[in-house]
Symmetry: C2
Subunit: 121 residues, 2 copies
DNA sequence: TTTTCATATGAGCATATGTTCATATGTTTG
DNA sequence: CAAACATATGAACATATGCTCATATGAAAA
């Protein structure tokens, strides 16, 4: 690491102090940082992404999701639980089935931004 | 799971067919889904989020990042590698130090959307 | 050229995560 | 009420991930 004296790290004492000040002012609370990371973690799995893309098009029951995505009902159900806990989807019961749909439009926006980024080059 | 005959799952044969059709048309390619998940995975760690928040404010060297975030140079360096591989940050050498900065503004937008979502309720 | 400093990186370890399997819950139908 | 169906969930297992430690790389200074 840098030098024995941390305060003089990189021989930039002044910039260092200023940085600390700015960062302390703008850095969100620990809990918000944690929640943010948790939220993005939810988007960080291709199965959940695929579920969301289906729900972009329609309100769908667990059974149909499993069939369309060619996955186990159990696997889908586990992932839907995570999506719901993070308020990305909501559900309602219709007879024996439970239909899932997008909770709000942040989901679309976040994924759209992500696509823009990866399609950049 | 639902019924013995998958095609008649949930007794909604018609909706099922239509769903499949729509999903096949709008679902991105496997590679894009994978890349999207990979990208969001990068945002899904609070250390990397914290690094990004520092870089929102200034171009900073590894050493200062480690100090400001109170973490090991090694840990920060490993995370910077991931951020750079995914083109969220770029770097340049100045003497012995290497300064990191945001690669583009998608990063700000994606995180802003994430914050909006979690601050909703 | 030999130190010294700043950063990068590989191996190892502990923890987190996704899927499967078995089973529980809850609703409808006979 | 019992059977059938749709979904949820806990345990177990394999893989992925973040941090630490030791060390390598690369540039500047002695």
């Amino acid at each position: 690491m840098c030098g024995k004296n941390e305060a003089e790290c990189c021989e930039q004492v002044e910039i260092h102090e200023e940085l600390l000040k700015i960062v302390n002012e703008t850095m969100p609370e620990e809990t918000e940082l944690y929640d943010l990371a948790e939220l993005f973690k939810v988007f960080g799995d291709s199965t959940r992404i695929r579920i969301l893309f289906v729900l972009f098009e329609a309100e769908v029951c667990v059974c149909d999701l499993a069939h369309v995505l060619n996955m186990t009902q159990s696997a889908i159900s586990h992932q839907l639980r995570i999506l719901k806990q993070n308020k990305l989807v909501k559900n309602r019961r219709v007879g024996k089935s439970i239909f899932y749909s997008l909770a709000d439009d942040h989901v679309r926006l976040i994924i759209a931004q992500g696509r823009e980024h990866i399609e950049e080059d």
